[in-house]
Amino acid sequence: MGMNRRDFLKVMTAAASAVAAGACDVKDKAPKIIPYVVPPEEEIVPGFPLYYKTSLPDLPDQPGVTVTAYDKVIGTAHEICPTKLEGTPGHPINDGALSMQGQAELYRFYSPQRLKAPSRPQPDGTFAELSGQGGDPAPEPAARQWNEAFAIIAAQLQQAAAAGKTNYYLSGRTTGALSRLIDEFCAASGVRRLREYEPFSYAAIRRANGILFGDAALPLYRIEECDYLLTVGADIMETFVSPVNYARQFARARSRNGLHWHHCGVHVTSTAMAADERYSIRPASDPWLLAYILRQVARQGWAKNAVPPDVLAALPEVSAAAVSEKTGLPIGALNRLVNGFEKAGHPLLIAGGTATAHESGLETAVLAGLIQWATGQIGDTVDFTRAENYETVGDLDDMKALSEELASGDGAGVIFVSRTDPLYHLPAEFRFSEGLSRAQLIVGLGLLPNETLRACHLVLPLSHALESWGDVAPRRGVLAPVQPASKPLFNTRSEGDVLIGLLQALGRPVPAPSMQEYVFSGWTKRGGEEFTDRFLSEGYFVEDVARAEMNCRFDAAAAALREARFAEPRSGLTLLIAPSPRMLDGRMAELDGAPRQNLLREIPDTVTSITYGEWVSVPPALADELALSDKLLEVDVVEVTVGGTALRLPVKIQPRQSAEVLVVQRGFTSSALRALYRRAGAAPGGEHVWFLDVTRVVRTGEKNDTLCIMSGSQSQEGRGFIPFPLDEKKWEEYERTAGLHTTGHNTHGGRRLTAVLPASGKGGGGDEPHGGAQGDRSGGTHVAGGAPGAADHDPEQSLEGFAKKHIGVHKGLPGGLYTGHTYPEYRWAMAIDLDLCTGCGACVAACYVENTIPVVGPDDHIKGREMSWIRVETYFEKSGDTFLPMLCQHCDYAPCEPVCPVYATYHNPEGLNAMVYSRCVGTRYCFNNCPYKVRRFNWWDHQWPSPLDRMSNPMVWVRSKGVMEKCTFCVQRIRAAKDYAKDDGRRQVRDGEVKTACQQTCPAQAIVFGNLKDEQAAVTRAATSQRTYRVLDMLGVEPAVYYLHGKPRVEHGGHGHQPETKLPVGRDGRMPSASGVRPGEEFQPPRLRREVTVQKEGGTSPSLTGNK
């Protein structure tokens, strides 16, 4: 190095002064203790959180949440900061669970991108705050900005009144007190309230129910009551109406009723994968399918309610072969669907989603309603008494009428657009934006910037639900509070307060001085302060509703069917604009404005495993034809031409996808795709059309290197993560030899395993007293009668044998270097029921928020540097499709432990594979040695731009650069439970007291956690179940995560037919009488349009050959 003495001294002096200057900093950086100035009203015990029961009205299902909030020092002030959202236990919608979106809601609440003050949108897409001049002078600048905004609106309203123009109030779905207040505001200020706009309005179903039953409502589907479920098009586990509620019910139905579930759909969703049998049908062939089923149900003479002949006469007369041809289902499959209804005591049909989002959507919904009527579902499993509250929601016809109205005459006066983004969604043919822009003043209300807000003249920022007062009524007779858990982070107001402020500015009488007083007066009217207190502490209120007695109006039904067009199914290549399991209708993409701030982008899409990027899912057959590849970094780009517009998108080859369907999801943000969404028009049922004709698809030769496909392969590649062959025949044999649930109370033809998990709620096997080994022997519990013996003979499978092997003193591996472990009190373990897992990803989101895991963004993802501690792996195999949640397995002989040179990871006395961050020096040896790939390395000091930093969980240390991290089994929750137990005078934590974040939020209650040393613990029961296995057990690492593998989920055509005796029967034990059993039509190897053949052993992609 060419440095002389003089330079050296110079550098040294400079460095020394820098050090000295840095040292002076010490005093400023000295840690401080900030007391309160005035103590808070409610007592806050330092270090312990506060809990608030509230609701999230911005999510489609409006779930009840319990907010965990910590008192934190921000600057020099104490603030209550929500750090985690969890479902409110017992809440009628979500009963403790929360979806991925609900868990990620804190990212919306704390988003730095939120609208921060009343402002005017600028042409460059930014928002310029109002100066605060020109309104009522108020002491605080914050209030002055609002006063200015109110003054502008008041002036414009008066001007509009003078000019005789109409003012409009358009909002997203609103329920509860806010809806009443909007009515009062509109009446007092001369504004016309419009029917609300939601992209997913379920209009066809509601309209059909209006025709058939005189109640245009969206009923509550009581999945938990049913024993046979047929879903047509509706992705009930992802976006359809109330997925968390449905998943909860599904889990109960599985364990209680032996639910058997068929799904017919056009694309691959996690709903389709969770169903027992999936039938791939042609786009828009749903009315033909349902017409066939209705005809068969009516004709075969076992229908519970008769359908008059004039209704049947209105149905198109087609043969089974013709329907088979139109739908692409073999006749045998069609009859299996019909038989399902016949054999079931309480069947349920749900048709929606892709089934109603096309030109014949209304017919589909009407036919579904008729089948529901004929098979006795109305009033049983289809419940109008507790219908979902969509009363104020309109449909696309309303929006079309509005667009025409706005475009005619002089244009509108003042238009309020609140919590909805019609410019993003509405079909371009409506020319809504042109009409809108003719208005005198467009006032946008919202939380985050979106396309509509950017087109407004004035934008009023709304407070988040966690900062507002209100209530929601998601269903008939269900009321839940919205109460603040935090002070407003920015100069925002709740919509109710905005409306009250506006009324004041207009000089009109106000119903209450603030939204808080408005909702309190409403609650007090119901039952005084006592009601209010109980309501706020319980978080929901269910009132009695008069039972809805429904009668079918057959004349109206026949008339509707006679008018129906029964369009031919779509032929040729079709593009499906599918709802996104992550972004829903697209609303969750509002956070994409800044990098690394949208948790939902970071979580892989359930079916494709893609995180960042925009893609088109193509069927394997087309991929073969075009020689496409979706290898990471070399993803082929195709050009999809839709109606004259060409789109260039990277591909994801999607196993199981129908040969003539391409899929793009909603919620992409590039302008080309937004234009594509708007290209689709309106269906006669009042819903958006989701299908577009594809003119051609060509391979461009271009390669994409930014699409983050997180799963290297969606095949197990013979590694046996799910070791039992998921084969129907083998499963039967397995069931037989294992002596599973063949007798006892759960006599559904041996269809389902008796629940071993207690989480499945009331009834079912889960509640049985469980006598451990003794119970097993007496045949009184979960291994009930049937073929006894397996449990007795296999020492591994009896509790004693299990305990010998897994609990207490381990002998160590034979011939191994390491001695065994002694677990004096606890051996924490987890069991995951793959039969219940629907792959929804809620666990992943919950883990991110609970453990303050950073969102690292696409650049890191493409390098494989994602940070998730739990992921859901999706496998498409010859023998069935499965989800596998994968997290640290907390192995007894963890391969990561012995390779750590600094003893940063070690085995703790409770069986946890612990990680001491402050010891870690980042060699990543452990990472390389982990067979499950669950360890994550911090390549950066991850940043949480304010106010996102307030979200961090104070019970977890935020890891710094160069440190390894991984699942801890939520050790902070174990500590909290022990602390609680000690306060309670107990030495041991009770079973169920520790709930990990993933377990707590699981909508299907597929996860159980607990102490394996407790023989009565739910996890021990699950771990000793006959269907338990461990992933990569043959490595001998003794993992502590037990998987209960599920029944094979059958892809139509992939397997032989189901024997008749295996079909479920009702809870009343109604077995089909001898005469009632028709000889089941023998399954014919599919020779129709959509033959699915599996190419080779271990191969994942079925090739789809059609008669194109």
């Binding site: 010490v26 005093k27 950086k29 000295a30 840690p31 401080k32 203790i33 900030i34 007391p35 309160y36 100035v37 005035v38 103590p39 015990v45 330092p46 270090g47 312990f48 020099t76 002030a77 104490h78 070690y906 703790n908 006395p909 409770e910 946890l912 612990a914 001491v916 961050y917 402050s918 104070p954 019970m955 977890v956 240390w957 935020v958 801890t968 050790v971 902070q972 500590r975 602390d979 000690k982």
Partner: protein
């Protein structure tokens, strides 16, 4: 001089200074750990409050037996007495000013768990230390915080580093598993 001896001298000189540097750093570290008496915004004396006013620790630090932290008294709480007690003392005037302006007193933390060069010299965010468990187990405040009742100005009385924690945990036969304390 030969090249060899030149190197030797350089080595000796460098070594001499290096030893100095190490000693200085070590002393600085030791001083910061034990002798550091930060200047507090108000010259609050624990001795006066405990010995002269006869107060108990829990009168002000109300959550010692049920909180993770013992809690600091709110400014308003100080004022409940000091409206009447020595209202004209210059230090109480400072307190009054804080109260009237609605600002919290920014006390400098004295008890620093662990030591970290960055983020202000404490590892408390990495450690789960429930005061309640220790107080309920009969550990006195003085065991860790020293004779606060005789201190006019506060200093850290115990090293509060891992070895010190573990020595007590070993002696008392309570868990020494890393994850008992490390978050």
């Amino acid at each position: 001089m030969t090249a060899m001896s030149k190197k030797l001298v350089a080595l000796l000189l460098n070594g001499y200074f290096a030893v100095f540097a190490v000693f200085t750093a070590a002393y600085g570290f030791y001083w910061y750990q034990t002798q550091y008496v930060p200047e507090q915004p108000i010259a609050f004396s624990h001795r006066t409050h405990i010995q002269r006013a006869g107060m108990q620790c829990t009168d002000c630090h109300a959550f010692g037996d049920r909180g993770l932290q013992p809690g600091m008294p709110p400014v308003a709480f100080c004022m409940t007495c000091h409206v009447n007690v020595l209202p004209n003392s210059p230090e109480i005037q400072k307190l009054k000013k804080y109260y009237e302006e609605g600002r919290p007193v920014e006390w400098i933390r004295v008890a620093r768990l662990g030591f970290k060069w960055t983020s202000g010299g404490t590892k408390s965010d990495q450690i789960y230390f429930p005061h309640k468990r220790h107080v309920q187990a009969g550990v006195t405040c003085q065991t860790c915080h020293g004779m606060r009742e005789s201190m006019d100005e506060l200093y850290q009385a115990a090293p509060m580093r891992m070895g010190w924690c573990v020595s007590c945990h070993t002696q008392e036969k309570v868990s020494t598993d890393c994850w008992t304390c490390h978050k």
